[in-house]
Amino acid sequence: MTARTGGSFILDDPAPLVDALRADGWRVIGPREGDGAIVYDEIETAADLPRGFVDEQDGGHYRLRESGNDRWFDYVVGPQNWKKWLFPARQKLWSATRTADGFDIDPEKVEFPKTALFGTRACEIAAIEIQDRVFDNGDFADAGYRHRRENTLIVAVQCARSAPTCFCSSMNTGPRAEAGFDIALTELEDGGFFVECGSDRGAEILDRIDATAADAAAEEAAQAVTEQAAQMQMRSMPENIAGLLKDSLDHPRWAEVADRCLSCANCTLACPTCFCSDVEDVNDLSGDHTERWRVWDSCFSLDFSYIHGGAVRRSTLSRYRQWMTHKLSSWHDQFDTSGCVGCGRCITWCPVGIDITEEAAAFAAEPAEPADAGGLET
């Protein structure tokens, strides 16, 4: 433990931090401007960060605009999320080669260099912690995931504004990250950064930087920043949604949302907590060499629930219901937490703007009689 663990400091801008991380051998993945959105990719210096941008978000709508000021982090979450790095979309698990008397298996070695996730928001930390429960879960832990997580350092950015699609306040996941980071930055109203050190690893990085200790006024100013982001939130999730959905399985609202839903899977694939995957075997023409890959999948695809004789949940109604009830209700039974962190991605990146909070509100407004499981639409 260095003197800095648990301390707080002031920095003029994020550049020395990016430099210190790289000097200490960390690959830095952070927000960048790409194809009209904020995407997460490798950055070499703070100059790669999308300074002076702000996003405009609503159901099925996103635009990235120049903000007209030189603030660093006024945009919030974009189409991608950190699972792109921690739980890659396509992953080779092993390959096998035919031999004279059988086959040899060659497990794929996961190589994940020390990586700093720079600019992680509070809801995203909560999402990573949810995926930790899914993949790093004792006897059945995913060795690759665990390796990647062990080599991960989190540099959080505390949100100074919320998009209209954000509802982390009502999910108790943000906008201020209280823990789960190694270092956290708050961009203060009148410039400069309030820097919190959350771990020894974070302190080792901060030891490389010439940062002055923060005083109580700076801490108060930092609290005010996230307070202001929380005040901006326009959407929220009803508190009793988990139980409400359990009683609403044959509610007429499902048919209404299914009329609008494209079953395109964007919501699940953009969601930072969705963890479903498919495992596929790919062999070459000779049949002598085969590879097993793990690929992101979604409960919106029919093959996802293919069992002997066909797929279950054939209708879009039952697919949307699976997504929403898993996220907000049965996730609690499975993992002791909600599967939603309130990041709003499923709302923004749904091509037709279906809004999980609006759907939830509809169930809350007209609670159904407890479900008659016998009559459920599949």
Partner: protein, 255 residues
């Protein structure tokens, strides 16, 4: 084990899908080694009268003669696989299904009476039983190789019927519809091209035809909100897969 006999057939089409097979340069020798090519006019003049283990069929049915020919091919083929939008949905030439073919022939040809053609362009599966359909205009080389490899290995090919959006998300492509307001057929189109258009900042044109459980009505409502007029919507669904039932029906509702 005797080599499986492969035949490749052409109906009304542009040859692009057969060319995709020839485009598998690196793998062609291996394919030729694993299969006996019994009939493939694009590649060889050798002709074998069959029967065939696998027939790959390109093109749609537009004449009475072709309707007869596909039945004969079906009878001689253990497995019949259609390749491409023409064979699986009638192709771009199925635009005739929405128009008056006689008016076309008399406008275009000096002697329209020489033209013997059906009023429609239809998918092979409208005429005979098809064992597997490979979508695309043209088909993807990757999926074609997967199809051949899987057939040789005796397993089902891995050709997901999910949305084009799935490919965008797996590739980290920013959605052009949400981030730019660009009309895109991806949410109702089957994946397979490898995310070609959205990765280049364009909307999907629907080359791979309707996905499983498509909901074009809901998509059209959103496209109308993005500013597409009814006529544009009608035409949007009327390209390579105009004849695919889900697209045909949706386009008709905007006439």
């Amino acid at each position: 084990m005797a080599k499986l006999k492969l035949a490749v057939w052409k109906f009304a089409s542009c040859d692009g899908c057969q060319l995709t097979l020839l485009d598998c340069e690196d793998e062609l020798l291996e394919i030729a080694g694993a299969l006996e090519i019994a009939q493939f006019l694009e590649a060889t003049s050798a002709i074998d009268d069959g029967p065939y283990d696998i027939s790959l069929v390109e093109g749609s049915i537009t004449t009475a003669h072709d309707a007869e020919r596909i039945r004969a091919i079906r009878e001689k083929s253990k497995v019949l696989i259609t390749i491409g939008a023409c064979a699986t949905a009638g192709g771009i030439q199925s635009l005739r299904n929405f128009a008056d073919v006689e008016a076309f022939t008399s406008a275009v040809y000096a002697h329209p009476d020489f033209i013997s053609t059906l009023k429609t362009s239809t998918a092979i599966s409208d005429h005979v039983t098809v064992d597997f359909e490979l979508r695309g205009c043209p088909v993807s080389k990757h999926q074609l190789l997967e199809l051949i490899t899987a057939t040789l290995a005796g397993r089902m090919p891995r050709v997901p019927k999910v949305s084009q959006c799935t490919e965008c998300k797996l590739n980290g492509t920013v959605c052009v519809m949400v981030a730019k307001g660009t009309p895109c057929l991806g949410p109702v189109t089957q994946a397979g091209c490898g995310n070609l258009c959205p990765a280049h900042g364009r909307g999907c044109y629907g080359c791979f035809g309707p996905k499983e459980n498509p909901n074009p009505q809901a998509l059209s409502a959103q496209l109308a909100d993005l500013g597409m007029a009814s006529r544009e919507l009608r035409d949007f669904y009327r390209t390579f897969n105009a004849g695919a039932p889900a697209f045909a029906e949706e386009s008709k509702s905007h006439e």
